[in-house]
Subunit: 446 residues, 2 copies
Amino acid sequence: MALNETPQDRKRVVVVGAGFGGLTCARKLSGHGLEIVLVDRNNYTLFQPLLYQVGTAALHREAIAEPVRHIIQDNRDIQFVLAEVQSVDLTQRQIATTVGAVAYDYLVLAAGAVPNFFGNKSIRETAFALKTLSDAGRLRNQILTVFEEASVETDEARREQFLTFVIVGGGPIGVELSGALAELVQNVMLKDYHDLRIGDVKIILLEAGDALMKPYPRSLQDYTLKRLQKLGVEVRLNVRVQGSDETGVVLADGSHIPAHTLVWGTGTRAAELTDHVDAPKGRGGLIQVGSDFSLLNHPEVFAIGDFADYMFEGSPLPGLAQPAIQGGEYVAEVITKVREQGQTIAPFSYWDKGTMAVIGRGAAIASVPRPQPYHADRHRGKEQRFLNLHGFPAWSAWLGLHLTYLGGFRNRMVAALDWSWDYVRNENQDRLITAVRQKEAESDDE
Amino acid sequence: MALNETPQDRKRVVVVGAGFGGLTCARKLSGHGLEIVLVDRNNYTLFQPLLYQVGTAALHREAIAEPVRHIIQDNRDIQFVLAEVQSVDLTQRQIATTVGAVAYDYLVLAAGAVPNFFGNKSIRETAFALKTLSDAGRLRNQILTVFEEASVETDEARREQFLTFVIVGGGPIGVELSGALAELVQNVMLKDYHDLRIGDVKIILLEAGDALMKPYPRSLQDYTLKRLQKLGVEVRLNVRVQGSDETGVVLADGSHIPAHTLVWGTGTRAAELTDHVDAPKGRGGLIQVGSDFSLLNHPEVFAIGDFADYMFEGSPLPGLAQPAIQGGEYVAEVITKVREQGQTIAPFSYWDKGTMAVIGRGAAIASVPRPQPYHADRHRGKEQRFLNLHGFPAWSAWLGLHLTYLGGFRNRMVAALDWSWDYVRNENQDRLITAVRQKEAESDDE
């Protein structure tokens, strides 16, 4: 079918990005007499919150990704197009992609976010990120390979470099990754490498602020710190990174940490596509949108998820799965009801379902709404509405929630199996080195 | 520890290759007061017989590969070295690797085989192979990507090219791959691509000889042919391939098949290392060895599996798992008993445990020994000693055997789950496109 012109018989909605927001929106739009074209550069949707598990070889890639076509198999009014979106022409109402132009009547931009290196070239070139499946594959290859390199390294200083991991950012990514890495070392590497001693490996977590897991209450922040330290992670607060090179990481105070692996787990910005959308941008290049997620002067164009700069009750929506999903659902309603049928709907209201993070097996933190009808208590203070958990209860909640969210029954089963087995055996089985690492890798993956 | 010189207190056996043969040999050598150094370019051992399942997205990579260090975790006298072996110095008794020289007292060469393109440059450059995990990943990406490309292709001729798959070789690889590919199309692609019709996809299996599955009895060859045709595979016998290019495949009779994907599933030769071993070679560069698998004039050096040219009862050992495993076990005995203790042991005798191949779900062929004590009947003719099965019984036997062989309990569970689910749902879930394809891919993987 011709993508470069919209169909005569019905309107076309083009959704850019098959993440939490875009996929939710496309499926909600289905069945309303519209033609939906879903465009993504990957043929799968990714469960980003578990990327660190792939990065530490606890889960195999397929367990946290699901083919888009499989998810929309029964939605015959959704066409999936595997392509990279290069630019958006708001006046001609079409997007330019690697497989040609795609015209739209409505456009939903859900291109997501990418790591923000804040213009630091040296870090961008040497640091590992954890945003895509390829990132996770590369990090996994790096982690596994440096242990191999260390095992045959006779120079002590170089060996120490190989076995030192610097992780920047005390948020969820940094905390969950350092915890998982510490457990990988304790439960697997010490068994796999007979000459390796626990003291040989250094995991250093750097945070610019004065506490880990900023949005969480103090008590959970302290628990997180203690748990990580118990796992052998060296946590350094109020530390800024200046740059990095092959030999290690340079801090703002000029000091140098010899390390072969630097993971950048702090700060994100809108995906590169934002530079090719002629619209007002907010912080990190996020597209500014109104209360109904549409662009100023372009009611037919929307931006959602962490590609959009949406203010709710005075503060920006966090770059999490829930705001993206809820935004996608709302935009589908705006298009089908408001734009198409002239109805009025209630203004968007973000329902904070809470957040959780895992530090290690049996150890997590969670801040979840108290079990009361939402409408009844949503205007009370957050501290009253939310229940703060830590330890095994939080971990169980985390496990249940993530298994439920994982796309696809089969994947859920595999993930459950991987996990339970992993949990019983303390094994990370998916530790295959599948390719060269990071910048060396021409290919989009590993 | 120093790899470039052998230890003082005990002898060192260096095993090159962690496949069926090398890994078996290393483990059998363990516990006899020797130091074993196992060298492989990958950190995992691969269950090659199921590569075609990964290539057709029926299994994820981790399900058919297991980390070597995990397998030898309890063998403290085995040291694994992740490195590529560049050459063997038979006089200095050391090998050159990418991590430096490794000296040996005994050397076991189990470097395996690679596809044999018989010097055809055009085929080597355009054809997909199915020998490594990277090969399987690349083929999977190719298969999934051409369907995406076809879905947005408006030119009919180009669309046909995208949807035509030419597979060369009527042996196990070609037969199992064409069957699995046909089922992928029927069970998955027709559901995933709403505009796709079954007639749009062409799977052409080319065999130079006059029958498929040569070593099997005629009845099973005929069954294989009928089943493949039933699955929609176009089988062409007595056809030779001349060359290939971007637009398709050129046959010996000058005719041209427009196709975007060519899979080379016929012929193997010894891994490239053979060119750097100064010893007599047989067909395909295989290292010539005596009845105890050792090299002529070098009783301390052995070659096994499909890296060795071993004649048993007048014919070469086939390049299968069993001969490699049995060879590895025997060489371990030769080293520990004959060389080290001067004992004499019975000459090597290959126990043919039979062969099987799967054509599709519920359809396979098998030629297995009749359930009688081996010694009692091994001198009777093969036709009497072997039981020929086809259809569901053969398939069940195949499934059971492969699940049993798959490395590691967890992997077995995951594979079983993948399969059973796959079988019930007729789904190939692991269809993620993880990178650019084939020659484009700089990386060793996908």
